[in-house]
Subunit: 460 residues, 2 copies
């Protein structure tokens, strides 16, 4: 428990309602989407940049670690409280500070919900391109911390590609401003993109200037059914080899389709379907049909069973029925989903999917793989029963093998979920010792006392 006189100092800074150490509040902020939990010493709710700067300085004085938190919707323990830490929840910093459609930018505090930014942008014909699956409730601060992405990344890039400038407070309590409001920048070191994806371990972001892009006039979808994983993976390569970049290229593997069938969500999927691609195109009204035709051409090939296109909202919704049921269908397999987010070059996807199949059989754990195949980014879900120690052991071994396979295929540990506490042990498999040492030195430069999100991102 935090000493009452220290809590009083935080309360003096933030007001008693926004510096809380009661058991209920602490319990509420003890977990994110990982199965583990750890109760923090207190929860702080700053409402402004100055309050963040103040609380970091107080934390420094008392050598108290801080665990920053957006919506707690991450699944690698990025917002899981470190033992003895104070949670800094950004939910009260949820103002849009400026919306400048003519310069295609918006300035937001970290607690703004991602979809709200997109909604605001659309009111002026613009779009905030990154679209994480949790967009309806996640907060932009968490997206910035993890370099979140989503289906549209294959065409538009990830969060990092849409940040122009940041305001932040380092672990040394220094207030910094990075980048520029301009769309070109060759002035200072690029601290902006360094902070994006640093998982709150270098600085606490208090304001972000985000780049907006023109909203497409229209979206169309294809649902493409294949006889097997390999046929679908070959089609992915063909799509990425031609000129039309889809605005989504999502893959569901054989086990995903089996899960959907078992759940009863496969209505409309033709018999023999063992892998599905969901493909989207967006752009000008008159140009989308041309794109769809080019994509259909690339998607056709050996093992193709059916292509269905959807141009209206209803048609699109119908095509997505099976995909939408996947999340619930997977939960039927086993209560706990260990969600591994991995990424490989697109041409290695077939090998990855094949290896996943084999390792699931070998370790006797159900593996369901789906995700953003246009980026080579798969979410591999290991479905387990948390109270079955032997099964959990097999799941661990399987996870280790998955990571090693990804390394062998020149891939990366995380495409969009980040490292958090759950994957940091694997980092030395991907990042060489000297590079890792440099990353640690950077951490030390930004946060000399190590108070910002300890136990995350970098291995001990």
């Amino acid at each position: 428990m935090l000493a009452p006189e220290i809590l009083a100092e935080f309360a003096a800074l933030l007001g008693p309602e926004r510096a809380r150490a009661d058991a209920d509040t602490r319990a509420l902020y003890a977990r994110d989407e990982t199965p583990r939990s750890c109760t923090p010493e207190a929860v702080l709710f700053p409402a402004s940049h100055d309050e963040v700067a103040g609380l970091v300085r107080l934390a420094l004085r008392h050598k108290l670690p801080l665990t920053p938190r957006g919506a707690g919707s991450g699944n690698v323990g990025g917002a899981l409280p470190a033992p003895g830490s104070l949670v800094v929840s950004f939910e009260c910093m949820n103002r849009v500070l400026e919306f400048d459609p003519d310069n295609r930018l918006v300035v937001v505090e970290p607690g703004v919900v991602t979809d709200d930014i997109d909604r605001l942008a659309r009111s002026k014909g613009l779009m905030y391109a990154p679209d994480p699956g949790s967009g309806a409730y996640c907060r932009i601060g968490g997206n910035l911390a993890m370099n979140a992405a989503g289906p549209r990344a294959v065409k538009y890039g990830a969060t990092r590609d849409h940040v122009l400038a940041l305001r932040a407070v380092t672990g040394a309590g220094r207030e910094i401003r990075t980048g520029s409001r301009t769309t070109k920048y060759a002035t200072g070191y690029d601290l902006t993109r360094l902070l994006v994806g640093s998982e709150g371990t270098l600085a606490l972001i208090t304001e972000a200037t985000l780049r907006l892009v023109p909203a497409p006039e229209r979206i169309a979808n294809l649902r493409v059914c294949y006889a097997g994983n390999r046929a679908a993976c070959e089609a992915i390569i063909r799509v990425m080899r031609q000129a039309v970049v889809p605005s989504a290229l999502e893959f569901m593997d054989r086990r995903s389709i089996e899960a959907i069938r078992a759940y009863g969500g496969a209505e409309g999927l033709p018999e023999g379907t063992r892998a599905v691609l969901m493909v989207a195109a967006d752009g000008a009204h008159d140009d989308v049909p041309r794109q769809i035709a080019a994509l259909e051409k690339a998607l056709a090939g050996e093992g193709l069973i059916e292509i269905q296109s959807g141009f209206t909202e209803e048609e699109i919704a119908r095509l997505w029925t099976a995909r939408k049921s996947l999340s619930m269908a997977v939960k039927k397999i086993a209560p706990l989903k260990i969600n591994e987010d991995v990424v490989v070059p697109v041409t290695r996807l077939a090998e990855l999917v094949e290896a996943i199949d084999a390792m699931g059989r070998r370790h006797r754990v159900p593996l369901v793989a789906f995700g953003h195949a246009g980026n080579g980014n798969l979410h591999v879900n290991i479905m387990v029963h948390q109270d079955d120690a032997e099964e959990m052991e097999r799941a661990r071994a399987c996870r280790r093998e998955l990571v090693e396979t990804v390394m062998r295929l020149a891939g990366s540990l995380s495409g969009e979920h980040g490292i958090g506490s759950e994957k940091r042990g694997f980092l030395p498999l991907e990042i060489e010792a000297d590079t890792l040492a440099l990353m640690r030195a950077l951490k030390q430069t930004f946060d000399p006392q190590g108070i910002l999100n300890p136990g995350k991102k970098l291995p001990d």
Copy 2:
């Protein structure tokens, strides 16, 4: 002069032909495109990553500063030798190490000429998007150092947006690998983008994995003539307000047009033209006309004199005649061109152009402004006679005023040329003291002895 026994050590590493301290070689590498020069102690020509690692370690042992150099085509003194330094020229590291069109990437050494990368990409229907004006002779290492860009950046982004991974040697002699071959990455800290634009002050890049994009099937151009600067600037805002992002949006101001007229290059420009926009659209064959029509609509407005479109190579070449003559025309005004590369939000361009006009009159120096207006990025050329001390003094005062104006308009000191030795004194006008201190600390982390490109990027 470098002590012969030290030169011998470098010669033992690189071979005597690639470690040279003769007067001729040293003189050849004494300058870049800035008017100043400084003769280095020696010039080193490494041919591999290992040789770069070896020479950095030798330089560390002897406490010798290194000045990295691409083609020497920069104009802010980025490759201007620091006093007492050894130039590291990357011209012998000019191999394409890998071309992987299916994964849309290419791995190159820093000495490869930029346009050669694009040419290689086009052989497989791809494109390397950044297109600096010096593309025919500049080297990718220099582009990476400066975060170079060009006209296409308005649609495709700058160098930084097209780098997936780097191999490099830090100032501490550590060999690092950053990023990943994958198009999504949420694993380590983003050292890749930190190194891009760091002007060789943090690490020497020895390999770059570059992202390629589908090459457009077709390009079309518009030449748009306006009655004055303000009318053109208003049109720029209208273009950036609608959905079609042009693949170039270039501006020439009133003084540019006057210079072209005086030079005799204005044939075909209608009478009354006092500002010109060159606009491009690219994409699928059947979609480009739609884009051009949308752009024409946005470009029309008060002060428009004429829009001409070009769809064939000949038509396009004809439209560019006036623009192509600008460089030579400007040289007629005065022998020395001080090229200031500044950037402001697009909506502030009109104010910037007006202020440039006023400050040119007030300081009695000819200012010619043109550039990548879709990014708010102008090259402001102060035309002077280097031997006229009084005029040079006025030019300096004018340059200072230009920078202060850009700061007032929420702009940045450099859009694409970088800071080098020539602009670093201005950095404190843009970057706050605490942020600058952090940048210095980063420099110290990467290069503790300060041997990499001293006297560049950061102010003393």
